[in-house]
């Protein structure tokens, strides 16, 4: 049987601070916010994109950064393995052509979801640049993808489960039995 150990890696306050810093970095890197669009990846990235947009408008004089969401289930390379998320929608409120799009996700792992999101995004227009912001980078990339803005780097085991929300970031280490470990 699997035994589980769940550890808090970031508290709710830490998450807030990390996202505030990331928000500043996004503005700094792009020398302002005039051509910026934030796109949260369904589902975990959507609240983070909204949070970043809120903090940017709080220190950039109420400037509203457009926020969208993108669902990548139709673009995945492992389509048969995952169910489509019901009610997860793609909603990009502005034309992204010529804009700088910041893709936002909660946890960066293999990079495959980001790869799918890039394909999905390019069907909506031709951004001037695409950047990637994540709350947690847990390593184990399978594709040549790196984030531009990271809330926290957390070394993990491949079989760990990372759960990120406003309440904090938790890592559940599962001590698997021999069969399961061989399968994973």
């Amino acid at each position: 049987m699997a035994t589980e150990r769940r550890a808090e890696v970031l508290s709710a306050t830490d998450v807030g601070r990390a996202l505030t810093r990331v928000s500043h970095e996004v503005v700094e890197r792009n020398s302002g916010v005039s051509s910026l669009v934030l796109v949260g990846m369904q589902r975990g990235g959507v609240w983070i994109a909204e949070q970043i947009a809120r903090s940017i408008s709080s220190f950039e004089g109420q400037f509203e950064v457009p926020v969208g969401s993108i669902d990548v289930s139709m673009y995945r390379d492992d389509i048969a393995l995952r169910p489509v998320i019901p009610a997860a929608v793609t909603d990009i409120p502005v034309d992204i052509t010529g804009k700088t799009v910041v893709l936002v996700d909660d946890v960066l792992f293999t990079g495959r979801t980001v790869r799918a999101a890039l394909d999905a995004l390019l069907d909506h227009g031709r951004p001037r640049a695409v950047q990637l912001a994540v709350l947690v980078d847990r390593g184990h990339r399978e594709l040549p993808i790196r984030p531009d803005f990271v809330g926290k780097n957390i070394p993990t085991h491949v079989s760990d489960e990372v759960d990120a929300s406003l309440q904090g970031v938790f890592v559940a280490s599962v001590a698997l039995d021999a069969n399961k470990r061989a399968a994973s």
């Binding site: 139709m74 048969a80 169910p83 009610a87 793609t90 069907d123 909506h124």
Partner: protein, 314 residues
């Protein structure tokens, strides 16, 4: 779900999952580039042994929006004219590598037979008087999204009017609308009611005027002149006078009642008013939704992307 042969085979959960996935596909269809790579590398063959415009083109558009390759089999120009049997035709196409067959045939049960001759998925695009499941799916989507009550039609009354006996659309829709909680009432002359309707959980009346002001959805069926081998109605004019949607009847509809028709319309027979003059007409929405509903079906049978049922009964 490997095949879609009949609404009867679906559970309520599978039906509502297909409707929810259709929302996804509606969003994709509304994009500037309405195409996703989901079914890249899969091949969908349309095998239509009966005339069709909207269903065949709708399936092909759906397949293309999901990046599947499509093959169209035209009976008129095929080796069927040299005497090749249906089974040999299917086996030949299967050998070329087909992942899904979309089958229409004038005989009930043909799509079911096709599943025994191929490992590919089979989607019923209409078989005889039996079933037309994707039509029911697009109709349910059109109706539920117009009312905006999720997938629930409890408390709504749907009147299906016309030639129920010869209608696969009616058979699929009675089942689908009932599964979503609607009350279904059939409106037809006795001669156009099928004998089996007594077993259906619905009622039947033989006058449209009796129900017209109480219903939420008016579903007009096409008078199938090509299937009329007996004198089941005295004349089309008389049918129209009793069951057609005339101006007077349209004025008696509830203000938020919807009018649907599966097409092709016989103007002047089952629909006398111009549908463009009916605020409740959803006839073009049905065609639009048809593509998305069929994307939902193709994706579900070909991706294995829906959650497998417990026990893996496939």
């Amino acid at each position: 779900m490997k095949h879609l042969l009949s609404i009867d085979e679906l559970t309520v959960e599978q039906l509502t999952a297909l409707l929810d996935l259709t929302d996804h596909m509606v969003e994709i269809s509304s994009r500037p580039v309405p195409k996703v790579p989901a079914l890249r590398g899969r091949t969908v063959a349309s095998v239509f042994f009966e005339d069709s415009t909207r269903t065949r083109l709708s399936f092909e558009t759906a397949a293309k929006r999901l990046s599947a390759d499509t093959m169209t089999f035209n009976v008129g120009t095929s080796s069927v004219n040299k005497g090749e049997s249906l089974r040999d035709t299917i086996e030949t196409l299967s050998a070329m590598g087909v992942d899904a067959f979309v089958v229409r045939h004038k005989s009930s049960g043909v799509p079911h037979m096709v599943t025994e001759w191929t490992d590919a998925s089979v989607i019923n695009a209409g078989d005889g008087w039996h079933q037309h499941p994707t039509q029911a799916l697009l109709d349910c989507h059109t109706v539920t999204r117009s009312f905006g009550t999720g997938n629930d039609l409890t408390g709504r009354t749907v009147a299906i009017v016309g030639d129920v006996k010869h209608s696969r659309v009616a058979r699929s829709n009675v089942r689908a609308f009932t599964m979503l909680g609607a009350d279904v009432v059939l409106v037809a002359p006795r001669t156009l009611l099928p004998p089996e309707f007594i077993d259906w959980p619905i009622r039947a009346v033989d006058s449209l005027d009796e129900v017209i002001s109480d219903i939420d959805v008016l579903y007009l069926l096409r008078m199938q002149r090509e299937r009329m081998d007996a004198a089941l109605v005295p004349s089309l004019g008389e049918y129209s006078a009793r069951f057609g949607l005339t101006r007077q009847r349209a004025d008696r509809l509830k203000s938020d009642a919807l009018v649907l028709h599966p097409g092709p319309m016989n103007r002047g027979v089952e629909i006398v008013v111009d549908p463009a003059d009916l605020p409740g007409s959803r006839i073009l929405d049905q065609v639009r939704t048809g593509v998305s509903a069929r994307m939902s079906v193709l994706y579900t049978v070909l991706s294995g992307g829906s959650v497998p049922p417990a026990g893996g009964a496939e």
